[in-house]
Amino acid sequence: MKRAETLAGWGRSPVVPGCEVRSEDLPRITVGRPLTRGLGRSYGDSSLPAAGDPVVASAVLADRILAFDPDSGTLRAEAGLPLSDLYRLFLPRGWFVPVTPGTQFVTVGGMVASDIHGGNHHRDGCFGAHVTELRMRVADGRIVDCSRTEERDLFRATVGGMGLTGHILEVTFRMVRVSSPWLWGESERVRNVGEFVEVLGRAAADWPFTKGWIDCVSRGKNLGRGVMFRARWAQGAEAPAKPPTPKKGFTLPMNLPSWTLNRLTARVFNGLYYQTHPTRPASVIHPDVFFYPLDAIRHWNRVYGKKGFTQYQCVIPHSSGPRALTRFLEMVTRPGVVASPVCVIKDCGPEGDGLLSFPKSGISFAIDFPVRPWTQGLIDSLNDLVVGEGGRIYLAKDTFTRRDHFAKMEPRLAEWQSIRRQWDPEGRLRSAQSERLLDLGPTKGGSP
């Protein structure tokens, strides 16, 4: 490192010493590096360097599409290709990514490494389910192709593996045909979390995209109220004749003071949100508005001020029932806790073949919390609940989970570790997150 520099994820906490090397030649800059990162949209420390190894490769300049076959939809790209390019170029031509997260400013490499999920998880699974091949630079310096048939273990450990099995250089996956570049959807007010589970379940059969915005501030009779959204691609006459033009956003120019978000402002915002989102019959929806509402405000993460924030996302299995969900909501709305006004609730389908990939059948919550003295304690107690219910957390969002909690959530960890050790026996690939959550040290005595 030439300069005293720091890196942080989207939550802007933690901030660690580190810097990126950027080049179009990703194969060159990944040699000997501990980690590759994309656009840094993971919230916590997964894209940050481990202490003592501060220089990471950045994939963002390696952004070429290498092949697209309009018959099958198969697309091969360098890992730094941003989703925003695919969205801008392919949607008007009738193609969309099989799975999208809630922001377009992610790279395809990051989408694989986090095995991202979207509103269609109940139907289409994670992004990794649609990936057919990866080209990687592995820890010993070789370049290796992997897929479900070739180096299958490496493939499964890499999808959702948070960059810890190697540097993803190229990604091959299938784009999907859409009936129009517009969406057709409706919304419905929901009174409580039990009702949410019901409406999500009911909508799953007919709607490819479902999600809810849930109130994580109000208590008592308003606990878990919210708005449920469901959509599909518009068909025939439903769609306007012209393709949607990109919505112009605005940039939050600076940090807001830390007190901007408090229980009062959160509640006011929340009430407003609820009141302005009544049950709406089906109509045409701009895809920016449905998929990427937060992208309208660039640098919205500055709302939380200098100290930053974290997102807690967990999934609680269906078998736990509504009581566990209510307990969860009671914990996050407890006096003294300030949650962001709007949180996301989503039902996940079955788990995919990515060994550390987050979703499994159940109800997922994603909630932002500012970083405060109480944050660690809150997340510890939420994790106690999640462990007790047999759920788990999403590494792409995590900053505060403790190692023993994570181990208890992940029965697949041992298999992932043994594959990872085969490919990286010396534990060269590391991140700030892996230092915190995983034991990647060199194998002692040979047994995994």
Partner: protein, 247 residues
Amino acid sequence: MKIVVLGATKGMGRALARRLCERGDALFLLGRDPEDLSRSARDLEARAGRPAGSVGTAVCDLERPEGFAPALAAAEAGLGGLDTVVVTAGLFETQERLEADAELARRLLTVDFANTVVFCEEARRRLLARGAGTLCVFSSVAGERGRKPVVLYGAAKAGLSRYLEGLDHKFRAQGLRTICVKPGFVRTGMTEGLKTPPFAGEPDAVAARVVKAIDRGQPVVYAPGIWGLIMLVIRLLPRFVMRKIGF
């Protein structure tokens, strides 16, 4: 338009080629590594929704002037004509390294000045032979004034800017429009590892400005635009001030 780009594999050239291709121009790429060129060509085709193979490529290395004529001939044949030649290729090294390594300095001066000019001469002949055309070449704000951090690189770019100005004066009336692009600090692989100054630009924003300049035939374009003002001030500073400051 039928456009040849030398330097489309990386940085501002990549961004510019994408904008041109996405809006429908026919492209032909020149560069030093055939495999990397074809990856860039496939990228452009996929982005523009064109069939594979429709963006042609040929090898052309600014360190091998004997290849310039054949490369441009291949481009002209591939495109079935030629309206515009764009040169974004160039070499950068810090003043420190250039002072320490005479051979590196010689290479840089040759690539960024002598050979770029020789390449432009070949392009000029071909464009004039067709009756009209546009030659768009990336020089730099580093050529505006003798400056401590870019004594050698700046000298090469100064020479290039002067050449392009002369070309424009002499041949515009005959139909050759010369465009000299003067980027300020732009965040590309070339500037990777350098301290980012205020007013740094992004390659795509530069590309958007250059596309407009090509369409209008604007002879000099600063990008990002603010660098036009900055350089105006720098040009006005007396020598004793330039000698004192580190800029």
